[in-house]
């Protein structure tokens, strides 16, 4: 009797192992920027839900978050500590270093050639995110374009021409100031990022803007920062611009209290304030002799990275590749581009885009030169020194030359020169 009982227990044990094996759960950790107010978050969440429904043995821990500095550092530290997610959306520009050089993400060139990963992604887009070691590590989903978002209602109400040139920009600033409207909403004290890029691009040229620090401080950068000071002195920005960041500037524009805001395509949805604001996007006006009126800042600076450890894990490989393919599929990219109005990374045509997006895309297509943002080109500490210096320049506490020289010294310090 005891023998029979023992045999039964052994069979039950073996059988239960078999059941567990057959239904083996795979857990995947994913981090993207598609969270909070991001326009793609709804599309993304639905895709994840659908994926889990289609693959009941896969459980996805979605750690997506709005990418503020603390989230970025958390991701970078996860890679440094070998605790990276299985799929990570992160930057592909100068900020990609901690992710790529951790050695913990898959080079995708072979996978792109051998499998359907990246199928349909535009080759030119893949070239834009190629890392300095010659490999492609990330697959972009959507790109962006930046420009001047205008509150069309305010321009029509006060009979102001769109600022397509420096003179028209000055005239618009004067008219809006005379009518108690903030001409441009910018948080110069905390987040002058887009104003820096555009002032440099449109005072100098794409060449000057893209000069980086390799050959010292470019004259276009000095003139660009002086241009911000000129705008500040003529009252182009809100009174508390030196104490504000993005939230304050975006809030002011949303409430219809500001006529213009320098932003990216991702901000168009929010700037419309659920249809209360009639907005459009135009290229930032040429502000100096070397500037080109059509030039824009745009491109692909983020993408999905695949964890090497997850890919090499036999238990996970199939599921993680399947999810990676789904999130880089033409179908998902189309849906994402339709949600955020950004540039699709695949050969797809977004449908049903609202007019401001079409205006922005049209400006992008007509641009003679396209530049990546300056923070995609120089090390983070040097960029932050410029960001911090704008308030000092506007308040006459430092000159543009001093701020850029400080940033250049930091560039030399961190790059070991």
């Amino acid at each position: 009797m005891k023998k029979i009982l023992m045999l039964t227990l052994v069979f039950v044990l073996i059988f239960s192992f078999g059941v567990v094996k057959a239904n083996e759960q795979v857990t995947l950790r994913v981090v993207t920027m598609f969270a909070g107010a991001d326009p793609v978050s709804e599309v993304y969440e639905k895709t994840i839900e659908q994926f889990m429904a289609d693959n009941p043995n896969v459980r996805i821990i979605d750690e997506s978050a709005t990418f503020d500095d603390s989230v970025k550092v958390r991701i970078e530290n996860d890679f440094a500590a070998g605790n990276e997610p299985d799929i990570t959306m992160y930057f592909t520009d100068a900020q990609a270093t901690p992710v790529v050089e951790s050695g913990r993400v898959m080079p995708l060139d072979d996978l792109i050639a051998e499998t359907e990963i990246g199928d349909g992604i535009l080759p030119s887009v893949l070239e834009q995110v190629r890392y300095s070691d010659g490999n492609i590590y990330a697959i972009p989903i959507t790109g962006f374009y930046e420009g001047l978002i205008l509150n069309v209602d305010l321009f029509e109400k006060y009979g102001v021409d769109y600022p397509t040139s420096w003179d028209k920009l000055v005239a618009a600033i004067d008219t809006f100031n005379a009518n108690g409207i903030t001409p441009m909403a910018v948080g110069l004290g905390i987040t002058p990022h887009y104003q820096i890029e555009h002032s440099i691009l449109k005072v100098g040229s794409a060449e000057g803007h893209d000069a980086g620090f390799e050959n010292g401080v470019n004259e276009a950068w000095i003139e660009g920062l002086k241009n911000i000071k000129e705008l500040y002195d003529m009252g182009a920005f809100q009174k508390d611009t030196l104490t504000q960041g993005w939230e304050g500037a975006r809030g002011l524009f949303k409430q219809g209290k500001a006529a213009m805001i320098v932003e990216g395509s991702w901000a168009i949805a929010d700037s419309q304030n659920e249809g209360k604001n009639n907005v459009t996007m135009i290229p930032y006006p040429k502000s100096g002799p070397e500037g080109n009126p059509t030039d824009m800042i745009a491109g692909f600076t983020s993408g999905l990275y695949l964890s090497k450890e997850a890919y090499q894990d036999e238990a996970k490989q199939e599921a993680v590749v399947k999810l990676f393919k789904r999130l880089t599929s033409a179908e998902f990219i189309k849906a994402a581009a339709e949600a955020n109005g950004g540039l699709p990374a695949a050969k797809v045509t977004p449908e049903g885009l609202a007019q401001p997006y079409l205006d922005g895309l049209n400006a992008f297509q007509q641009a003679e030169n396209i530049s990546l943002p300056i923070d995609a080109q120089i090390p983070r500490p040097a960029w932050q020194e410029i960001v911090k210096g704008i308030g000092y320049i506007c308040a006459d506490r430092k000159t543009a030359e001093e701020v850029l020289d400080d940033a250049y010294q930091i560039y030399l310090e961190v790059s070991g020169n």
């Binding site: 440094a80 983070r380 308030g391 308040a395 506490r397």
Partner: protein, 295 residues
Amino acid sequence: MEVVFIKTKDDKKVIFFFLFPALLMMTIFLFYPIVRSFYKTFYIAVQNINPRFVGLHNYRKLLTDPAVWIATKNTFIFMIAAVIFQVGIGIVLAVLVDMIRAGKEFFKTVYFFPIVMSAASLGLLFKLLYNYNSGLLNAFLINFGYEPVLWLDASKALLMVMIPTLWQYVGFYFVIILTAMTKIPEQLYEVAYLEGASTIQRVTKVTLPLIFEDIKVILVLAITGALRVFDFVWLITQGGPFDSSQVLGTYMYSAVFQRRLFGYGSTIAILIIVLGVIITSITNKLLGKRDVSID
């Protein structure tokens, strides 16, 4: 009657057994990070990767960085303000509430309430109050016919971030002092009353000397707490404009999280630890042992 403690051979093992978990946690989450931070101070490690040994470079930079001096000065201003306003107002409120007969619990709850609210929500609240365009303060001013004020400009930013920081913890010290005052026997006050002592004399000659040990504790807490000031400053001004409201906590955070200079951020963290140890020692020495026994 004498109390006899019986010691057994296993006492040390038992003590070690109970202390070990706490020691382990402290080692993992406090001592190891401090040692690791100290190690990082000798490196430039942008984005915490590819560290490059630079010897004492970060310490030399610390000494010549004007923002560090502003942040240190502001941190000391916070300390002085914490002693005067947090501890001072806490004591005054505790003495006043102790004197009243009805409503003690009500005032205890009201004054303690800000402590239980998250600094993030309070920070946001104050940020909105100070907002130039749509803030409550400027709405009042405009309503009464005055010009709106830039509450967070360089001349006022430090004061504006000090107000919520100091206000939030007044209730904490108030409750500690009020609790300490309950141990003073009522008879002492009765004797003082019969001797003809005024209310102020009763407070200064009876109450305060008898709770001096507790005041000492909250002084140390307030002073060391000033070294950890971060949340309100970061939420309201991020240390600006022009570093005018910068404190050591926010400057360390911006070095690591904004500029990604992990080595330099660690050097600022070491400065905070060293200052904390020195200031606590000085405070303890200055306050000395002035025990007054109730017995």
